[in-house]
Homo-oligomer: 226 residues x 2
Amino acid sequence: MSIQTQIDPAQEPSATQRAYLAIRRMILIGELPPGEKLKIERLRTILDMGGSPIREALTLLVSDLLVERLDQRGFRTAEISPQNFSEILNLRCHLEKMALRESLTNADHAWEDKLVISHHRMMREPRTNVEPFEALHKAFHMNLLSACHSPVLLKFCNQLYDLNIRYRYLAGKALNYSKRDIGKEHTDIMNAAVDRDADKACHLLLDHYRNTGAFLEKHFVTEAAE
Amino acid sequence: MSIQTQIDPAQEPSATQRAYLAIRRMILIGELPPGEKLKIERLRTILDMGGSPIREALTLLVSDLLVERLDQRGFRTAEISPQNFSEILNLRCHLEKMALRESLTNADHAWEDKLVISHHRMMREPRTNVEPFEALHKAFHMNLLSACHSPVLLKFCNQLYDLNIRYRYLAGKALNYSKRDIGKEHTDIMNAAVDRDADKACHLLLDHYRNTGAFLEKHFVTEAAE
DNA sequence: ATATCCAATAATATCGATTTTCTGCTCGGT
DNA sequence: ACCGAGCAGAAAATCGATATTATTGGATAT
């Protein structure tokens, strides 16, 4: 068995899997705007496959809250709203706090290594490569929580993360965090985590989220006023 | 337009919907035991429909954590474990506490009426009618939270509730809450909620869950030892 | 002019058949 | 006797076609 096979056990992802990832990406980055009707026929031609895997992928996305199903009337991308945004933010803060505390309780050396590596990778990626950077950013945040032994909680955090990042993409270039040093915020969070200082790490993490949230909310208001 | 149409807008549920409800029920009540292979062909004959709605229903159940998908190898019902059980219980306590507090903040008269009605309906249903009683029991608990303005949080609570009730069914007849007066516990919770005493209501609710949880956990241990 | 009904159209939901992938077993080699 | 390659048989995944169901635009009656 080659190393290649070990690294890539899913040689050829199923059509459903491909469709799921492709549609999910299009929704997250805003290529499919909120409320957009998702016609099977159109997606079929774009992704070049039959209707069944498309429908299955959309069904998976319904549970991620990225797609809404209208009985007998097909699918559409989830709507956005300021209420929904602040709901996501608030829930995220609560759940990630729980997860982070639990994670720090169980944290071992292997976890610490993973965390440092993902931090490093994130820092070296230019923020202008938006999609690659965001992937590494998410990896860093999820690694923080990864020693938490509650798969369900982690799943929720992961879901909420994606819902939030969608708003980030939608706000798009309009965002410039001029007054903040995001890099330092991440480093501080990591250091507190490595020190197993749960109170400090939680405090820093939530501030990090709330600051970003405030930025986005402001942007929301501005846009709505236009 | 007749009243009938208004009351029952979904005259004939789609095959997917029917399959979803039927399979979900079979898993919750333990008719499909944990870890069971879910063959499409078999479900097709049982539910008398094509493979597509079955697959879609199963996909929906994956997101409910009641079914696991094995890439290219079909579906099976979710496994159970003591770890999973206590994880569910713990998360449930945290999330329902949040939801209940928020709900009591927003609670109005209409909410109060709904709560009282659902409590009454639950109390008058004999506990020996297991499935109808459980439906009313769930309705009561969800009504407690229903004034909470966070759809996502409510969705999570709902999901966790179902995961938990599955364990309850699996433990089955073995359960007798001889030493407890479940009826009184519910009434006390309701009264605290009606009084908008959030601290008391949360305290009572969590005790209610944790007591049941301890019962079930004991049962788990006993069964594992057999 | 407006609302209502109907027909044509478009899209979804579902089915049956086909293709692909897995699984267990047999057979030959060591 | 044990291990692994190769071969059915079973099951899953996917496709293309059909049956159902919504939607739209226009004709008719008020």
